[in-house]
Amino acid sequence: MPACCAFLLGLTSCDKDNDDMQEQTLYEKLGGNRMVSDPRNPSQMIEQGRLGLRSVVDSTIFVIAADPNLQPYFAPLLAEVTAGNTTNLAVLSRSLTDFFSVATGSATATYSGMNMRDAHDPARNPRMALKADNKSYDDFIAAVVKGAQQNNVPSELIGEVGALIEALRTTIVQR
């Protein structure tokens, strides 16, 4: 019986420690699921975490579009779409925001795209012109950092975003 109590006590104290030590996710640090008015469309609400990520993503896309080194990977961004169709900027913005929301710990976001390895493998994804190399990935990370800086994201959070993307390097860089 005492052993059992000690075991339960131990479990309880472990849980308490876990609660105390439980860190906020990056998504929560960016505002989490608190609903705010969407500056794009004031009649709609958006989670603050998603809004922060979307702002970074949109700025990043402009940095990418201006970078000739990344052009082969993101060429459709700069191709005109026929009238009435969703622009590739909107498609990429939505897809990247979904992905980053899920990757940073959003409980409500969903990402329905391909997994990162397949998405960056030309053999599995015909929309991937060529395999990414380390130099291009460095350029991509630099673009995200620049995009975050443009949105005044605190440097410690930029570091966390950078670490998150860096963790995907081995999956995405395939040559």
Binding site: P39, A79, V81, T87, N88
Partner: protein, 148 residues
Amino acid sequence: MQKNIWITWLKRAGLAFLITLGMLTVVLVIHIYQVSNRPRGGVDGWQMARVNFEKSVDSTGIVLFRYALHQHKSVYHSFPNMQAGTLAFAFDPTKTKASELCNSVVQKTGIQATLLRISSEEAANACPVIDQHSITYRISSGLQKLFR
């Protein structure tokens, strides 16, 4: 007798199926109409383009070009890459074309820049990851067009 009962049941089931199908179709049409007519904010309707500057154009020239570009109301946002000598910008494709914007600014400022043109081959082989030849994409874009 037994046969009549079966026929009656089949008729009822068929009728219920058709009514349900009709209601679902109405709901779907209303949903598509609402989604298609939702106000498009932010980047949703933005088209991107990029101009490449001649090597002789310095950062001052790029700043001037950018300023002149933003005099057009259909230009929303731009980002210059001074090192690479490029300027990416977004505009409203329903009001103008990238080539018109570029030509207009080049004529106005005399700053040498050319619009980057993406071949259909390049556009078909890169991100964003959406297969515009897929059946799903064709059906959804076709339905969207119906309500525009």
